[in-house]
């Protein structure tokens, strides 16, 4: 498919304002949605609308069918069993679920939780709060000057006291991947459970839980063409079985008596209250879309645009790109225009309909460690093209002049 053909599948990208199309470079925040996802959500409410897992009439059966089919497809998409895939609102909720269930039962005073300095706040704050509540120690794996986590850092920090290691698959700021295999094998060696934030990987590359080897992974639907409000947590069956419920309420029970209760089997045990089958219908359509385009095609298109952007940005005077130049990176590129605050850069770009993110990207400790308060970030998806990068660069050239420099 050509760039224009792919773009035409996304209604928001076809909207012209003042005769100009949107150049959307903020997919790490949320993706745009293809028509078929938007239509699937509408179709659910028009044709299948009822509360799933309740009722015996046709629509209730159809709602259940759509919701569970979404789970089945999500599971097969990541090489998992359906009963081990729990729908959450997003990655943050999945991490909170883990912190308040597995974490609350297994992390105690004097124990260690290890995370990396690259974590999004969603994979940082639940562990920080857990450690503060339990008197446990939150320990960071830091990056060296080449933005690498060294073997000695991993061996030193992940020790016998470590109960849990939580880390991102791909940094939402730097686009770098930590040494996944080394972290997981060290954690296995010391008996720690591993949690991976896959919010920035599942939308962009083939992720298979069996190949990854982590004990839990979490990701968000809205970053992979699906609606807001649905994401997934996958966990090893025996771990999920051993955990108490997180939220309690409707639909997650076996029996409720006046003074106690027993819980539904997986995955319902972790899905209290009425769920969002409309969003699940959208997630199902999003996964179908990704499989039709092909994860290899998605990854290859993004690789081309990413590398092109790195080389174009490096040609621009006054643009400083952060992160390693010599390693494979994915999804996001952080940068600043010299002497211009990122919010001013983003404002000037937005006048040309170039949409970038400016700020701390929900990763304040990482930015601090890089000596920054904030930066601009561009990030890509399948619908981005070299032309988008050219339009960005044209607009970037105007920034300093606009600020009177």
């Amino acid at each position: 498919m050509t760039d224009a053909e792919i773009r035409s599948l996304f209604p928001e990208l076809m909207n012209e304002r003042d005769g100009r199309r949107m150049v959307y470079l903020d997919s790490a925040a949320t993706s745009q949605r293809p028509s078929e996802v938007i239509e699937a959500v509408g179709s659910f409410y028009a044709n299948d609308n009822a509360n799933p897992h309740r009722g015996t009439y046709l629509e209730a059966e159809k709602a259940t069918e759509v919701y569970e089919e979404a789970r089945n497809r999500t599971a097969s998409f990541i090489g998992a069993e359906s009963r081990d895939v729990i729908f959450t609102r997003n990655t943050s909720e999945a991490m909170n679920l883990l912190a308040y269930t597995w974490g609350a039962e297994n992390v105690g005073a004097g124990d260690r939780v290890v995370i990396t300095i690259m974590e999004h706040h969603s994979n940082l704050l639940p562990w920080q709060r857990l450690c503060r509540m339990k008197g446990a120690e939150l320990v960071y794996l830091y990056l060296n000057d080449s933005f690498e986590i060294t073997d000695s850092e991993i061996e030193e920090k992940i020790n016998a006291d470590t109960k849990l290691v939580a880390f991102t698959h791909v940094s939402n700021v730097l686009g770098v991947m930590p040494p996944v295999g080394k972290i997981i094998s060290r954690a296995k060696e010391t008996g720690a459970v591993t949690v991976m934030d896959c919010a920035q990987s599942v939308p962009h590359m083939k992720v298979d839980v069996n190949e990854l080897g982590a004990d839990f992974i979490a990701f968000s639907g809205h970053k992979m063409f699906a609606p807001f409000g649905i994401g997934a947590l996958w966990g090893r069956d025996e771990l999920l079985e051993s955990m108490p419920p997180f939220l309690s309420g409707g639909d997650m029970i076996e029996y409720v008596r006046e003074q106690d209760a027993t819980w539904a089997p997986l995955p319902q045990k972790f899905e209290a209250g009425t769920q969002d089958p409309g969003a699940a219908a959208g997630l199902l359509a999003a996964i179908s879309f990704m499989e039709r385009i092909g994860m290899d095609v998605i990854a290859q298109r993004e690789r081309d645009v990413y590398d092109y952007a790195l080389s174009r940005l490096s040609e621009l005077d006054h643009v400083e790109v952060y992160g390693p130049a010599d390693r494979e990176r994915f999804g996001a590129i952080p940068f600043n225009v010299k002497d211009v605050h990122p919010h001013d850069t983003a404002t000037v770009l937005s006048a040309d309909r170039v949409c970038v993110r400016a700020g701390h990207h929900c990763a304040q400790p990482l930015l601090k460690s890089m000596g920054l308060n904030s930066c601009c970030r561009i990030s890509f998806s399948v619908y981005n093209s070299r032309e988008d990068v050219d339009l960005l660069c044209d607009s970037l050239k105007k920034v300093r002049g606009r600020l009177g420099l």
Partner: protein, 146 residues
């Protein structure tokens, strides 16, 4: 809003001015202000002599709008009484909200009138008011008799 209206010469020049940007020797009031969503931060320092703002300075890191606004604000409040400074702040906030529009009131804001158009850019309003908001916090409880 057009960029020309936002990044006017008054704003770009004030954003880089060093005039009021320094660490004071012995300020009587120090107040930090932060925009948590974007990381803009300023530390406002005031030297009060009775109820008069005898000296003022700030240090900070942030966008052109937030830094220019703080610099222009200090221009305005130097030598004013606490009450006068609070009144100016009220006028500025009112202008940003689009509630104060009469020319006489706006005139008192001098260069700070340059931020009037920002009321049409909701995402940048918090940048323009950071300095003034910090001033209000700094002057809380300072009724002029201290």
């Amino acid at each position: 809003m057009e960029l020309d209206e936002l990044y006017t010469q008054v704003i770009t020049e004030n954003s880089r001015s060093r005039e009021h940007r320094y660490q004071m020797q012995a300020p009587s009031v120090v107040k930090e202000g932060v925009n948590p969503s974007c990381g803009d931060e300023i530390t406002l320092q005031l030297e009060l002599d009775g109820d008069v703002i005898k000296d003022a300075a700030f240090i900070g890191d942030g966008c052109a709008i937030s830094q220019a606004s703080a610099n222009i604000m200090i221009d305005l409040i130097l030598g004013k009484t606490v009450e006068e400074a609070k009144a100016l702040s009220g006028t500025f906030m009112g202008m940003i909200k689009g509630e104060v529009t009469d020319e006489d009131s706006l005139e008192s804001l001098e260069d700070a009138q340059a931020f009037q158009g920002i009321s049409h850019m909701p995402s940048r309003v918090k940048c323009a008011v950071l300095g003034w908001h910090t001033l209000e916090e700094a002057l809380k409880g300072k009724d002029g008799n201290t």
